[in-house]
């Protein structure tokens, strides 16, 4: 299951989806808006996506994870729009028979998302704003 959404991410329904009788392990990664970046206080984040391509790139990542590890179920949900401190920006969930595969696949998915998926975040500080990673 792959989704972009402007609504809050629902962990319970993601978990319900991941549950299957063959699963011995579920690894769930949550990316959350924290209150500072390099000790500069953050007020909120604004996430923007090139939706069509973002879904396509997430699909490629999931397909590659599926090739590398024996996944039973997976879910990738990324939120867009304005997010406040403590809100969840991304949820990656992977269900496998054995735990090493769940950890490896989950980590691969989030690491690769941050490299290739056309989603951008702007940090809004009390005294300015900045697109993350945009500047040299």
């Amino acid at each position: 299951m792959i989704a972009l959404t402007t609504d809050p991410i629902d962990v319970a329904s993601a978990l319900k989806y991941l549950h299957t009788d063959q699963a011995g392990a579920i690894d769930l990664f949550l990316g959350i808006v924290r209150n500072s970046t390099q000790s500069r206080p953050v007020d909120r984040l604004e996430y923007e996506a090139y939706d069509r391509m973002a879904i396509g790139e997430m699909r490629k990542i999931a397909d590659e994870a599926n090739r590398r590890w024996p996944l039973l179920r997976y879910t990738i949900i990324h939120r867009t729009g304005t997010l406040l401190i403590g809100e969840m920006a991304v949820l990656i969930g992977v269900a496998t028979a054995h735990r090493a595969d769940a950890f490896d696949a989950c980590r691969y998915i989030i690491d690769t998302i941050k490299q290739t998926v056309p989603i951008w975040k702007k940090e809004i500080f009390t005294d300015g704003e900045m697109w993350v990673n945009a500047h040299p």
């Binding site: 996506a49 069509r52 991304v90 989603i119 990673n133 945009a134």
Partner: protein
């Protein structure tokens, strides 16, 4: 025949140009690199961005890929999802 291409802009590129899409002249046979050069001329502030990739029809494109006016073209500044 001289055509134009519409280029989708996101993130910092949208902020710099003040637009979510811009039109650029697209000579026949022009490639991704030509399109980027044209955009840097039109919007010199784009050169302050660490890197810009181009997507054609929703896929990352190499700089020598030829683009057509009917393609969906987008600038991809450094991503920062997650």
């Amino acid at each position: 025949m001289k055509d134009t291409a519409s280029v989708l802009l996101f993130g910092i590129t949208r902020d710099i140009t003040g637009q979510s899409a811009v039109s650029v002249p697209l000579p026949e046979g022009a490639c991704v690199a030509d399109l980027l050069s044209q955009l840097y001329r039109q919007y010199p502030d784009l050169s302050g961005i660490r890197s810009i990739l181009v997507a054609v029809n929703g896929e990352y494109a190499e700089s020598d890929q030829v683009v057509h006016s009917k393609d969906e073209i987008a600038l991809i500044p450094p991503v920062s999802g997650g």
